[in-house]
């Protein structure tokens, strides 16, 4: 199905003329682009290009001073993060933001919080636990277990995430995001600090997610090779401005882009 939908390039999210600044600092300047349904969209650019800020804008953590965002047709300017989450946007973080005190299982379970029946997990039933709450827990445990076997982390199911190696933590975080069954999945440098093998696994999972569930994915990544392999389209930011947008190949050969990266390396 995913193949079919990629052809029908219908935008699931559009950002128009977004400008975001902290006091004097301009993090993003008048950036516009869109993300099509079921595509893998890469956001790249040198450090401090405003990539992460862009994700933060998309899922309502930062509120841009100008511009508008429309997600699945509905336009919004201000939106609380949890509203964005409820709307079907899930994400992972640049430096892993798992709940250190909890097990892999519980971490992924937290991703289900929006899917749970509010009454069954409300205070009083929870105090009795046996009954509605337990039913609800088990229902969602099953779903979480499917994610666990999807990501092949059965062996660390009950391990406190604090004890896990970095690569696995990233995988668990992906699991937590998947648990929300998002329409749009934002991945902030999913491969940062991974060794080659871990990267290959992560690539495989990202592709599988996109293919199995038809999830739309927007990802920030430094590893150009990865970006070229994974993404359908790439948008390039530099110093908060959009300098290129298009297929991986187009972008790769774009002079502006090359300069931007050279500028960083030199």
């Amino acid at each position: 199905m995913s193949i079919a939908e990629k052809n029908t390039s219908e935008a699931i999210l559009t950002v128009e003329n977004i400008t975001l600044s902290f006091g004097a600092v301009r993090a993003i300047r008048d950036v516009s682009f869109n993300i099509n349904k079921s595509e893998i969209r890469a956001i790249i650019g040198p450090n401090g290009a405003g990539k992460t800020s862009m994700l933060n804008v998309i899922n309502g953590f930062y509120h841009p001073q100008e511009g508008k965002i429309s997600f699945r047709g509905e336009v919004r300017k201000q939106m609380r993060p949890h509203e964005a989450a409820a709307g079907g946007i899930a994400r992972t973080f640049q430096n892993v933001a798992l709940f250190k005190g909890m097990s892999t299982l519980d971490n992924i379970m937290t991703g289900r919080n929006l899917k749970m029946n509010k009454w069954n997990v409300s205070l009083v039933p929870s105090m009795f636990y046996y009954g509605p709450t337990q039913k609800e827990e088990i229902k969602h445990r099953q779903h979480v277990e499917e994610i666990i076997s999807f990501l092949e982390i059965e062996a660390i199911r009950k391990t406190p995430v604090g004890r896990l190696p970095y690569g696995l933590q990233k995988r668990v975080e992906l699991g937590r995001a998947l648990a929300a069954e998002p329409d749009l999945l934002l991945l902030d440098e999913p491969m940062a600090g991974m060794n080659l093998e871990e990267k290959e696994d992560m690539c495989r999972f990202i592709l599988d997610v996109n293919d199995e569930f038809g999830t739309t994915i927007a990802l920030i990544e430094h590893d150009m090779g990865v970006v070229m392999d994974l993404s359908d389209r790439v948008v390039v930011l530099d110093h908060g401005e959009k300098i290129a947008d298009g297929s991986p190949d187009e972008v790769k050969n774009d002079q502006k882009v090359i300069d931007a990266y050279l500028g960083v390396s030199s």
Partner: protein
């Protein structure tokens, strides 16, 4: 070394998510409970119940309350004493105001009232975090004890300013009032606390507990995956206060019988309960009990040693007690911030894989 858990495989999520998935643990806990319920009443003396068991149980409940807020939800509170006072006063006003009200209902209502007050003082957590919040809770402490001290209505205008619990019965046994048998009061406390503790355990192992821990561990991430920080914290505040309030009510009715609120529940009580959860273990039910037992028993032991054996003056002993407690806190925070509970957990891990190191 004692564990023979292999072969205890789980064929259902119910059994996999049980509180004590390992059979041996379950047996221990049950045995312990039966001991407290059956054996202790046989050998316990009036003093033993009044000075040790009952306060330990009551403070365990308070510790559980604070642990829910601080240990699980990560919101530090220094107002525990104040909220216990609310519970105590509520209990007093309810019993004197509505003599017909069954005692258990009274306790629960006192808890609910305290929960309301806690909710009120939780509101600042909307905007402020960490120390700021801790300070805010201090405000609660001072304001409340002032309130109950100054406004005579809360003491039914008794000249002495003390509030005294009238006699009440449960299932025909007198549990409050001057001629309530200590053993009956103890058993009532035990059962009541155990039930509430189970409820608390159910909370923290379910979705609500996870939402609290999520806020504690990484509030921003929690919000970004759809938790509502404010609601979550407020819930923690009110549930915590509910438990603390009931503890206060029990302290008045089942333990002290008659108190001068401002004195009995002053800021030192707040610290005491805080110490209980630090030493016992932040984010651990079992820790709440252990910590309470430690904080209650240690001074008794200390005084016995220093006064009875070393012949110190009581006042000097009191000072040493301060040093001792302060020292313990620092020691635990440095050595094992997660308290006795964590230490026990580590020992258990070792036992489970004995003699292998990993």
């Amino acid at each position: 070394m004692f564990y023979r858990e292999s072969g205890q495989f789980k064929t259902s999520y119910q059994s996999d998510q049980a509180v004590f998935p390992i059979r041996q643990d379950l047996w221990c806990v049950v045995a312990f409970f039966l001991f407290a319920l059956v054996v202790i009443p046989y050998f316990g003396t009036e003093y033993f119940f009044q000075a040790i068991m009952i306060p330990v149980l009551i403070f365990s409940l308070a510790a559980i309350g604070l642990n829910l807020l601080t240990g699980y939800c990560g919101q530090l509170s220094l107002g525990t004493g104040g909220f216990m006072a609310v519970g105590a006063v509520a209990c007093y006003k309810l019993t004197t105001g509505f003599p017909e009200l069954p005692f258990i209902i009274t306790l629960l209502l006192s808890g609910l009232i305290t929960a309301g007050v806690g909710l009120l003082f939780g509101i600042p957590s909307l905007r402020i975090k960490g120390f700021y919040l801790a300070v805010a809770t201090l405000a609660a402490q001072f304001f409340l004890s002032w309130l109950f001290n100054k406004v005579a209505w809360f003491q039914n205008y008794t000249p002495s300013g003390t509030i005294t619990m009238p006699p009440r019965e449960v299932l025909g046994y007198a549990v409050t009032g001057p001629n309530a048998d200590a053993m009956h009061r103890y058993i009532f406390c035990l059962l009541f606390v155990i039930v509430l503790a189970m409820a608390a355990k159910n909370l923290v192992r379910g979705p609500i507990g996870r939402s609290w821990m999520a806020i504690r561990d990484m509030d921003i991430a929690a919000e970004l995956i759809g938790f509502r920080p404010f609601q979550t914290k407020l819930l923690a505040f009110s549930v915590s206060s509910f438990y603390v309030g009931i503890a206060g009510a029990m302290a008045l009715s089942l333990w002290l019988g008659s108190v001068e609120t401002a004195e009995a529940f002053d800021i030192n009580v707040s610290f005491q309960v805080l110490f209980m959860i630090i030493i016992g273990g932040l984010g651990s039910m079992m820790g709440s009990f252990v910590g309470a037992a430690f904080i209650i028993l240690a001074p008794i032991a200390l005084t016995n040693v220093m006064v009875s054996w070393l012949g110190m003056q009581a006042v000097t002993a009191k000072h040493f007690e301060f040093i001792f407690f302060g020292g313990m806190i620092i020691f635990f925070l440095v050595v094992e911030p997660h308290g006795i509970a964590r230490i026990w957990q580590l020992v258990k891990e070792k036992l489970r894989i004995w003699p292998l190191p990993y």
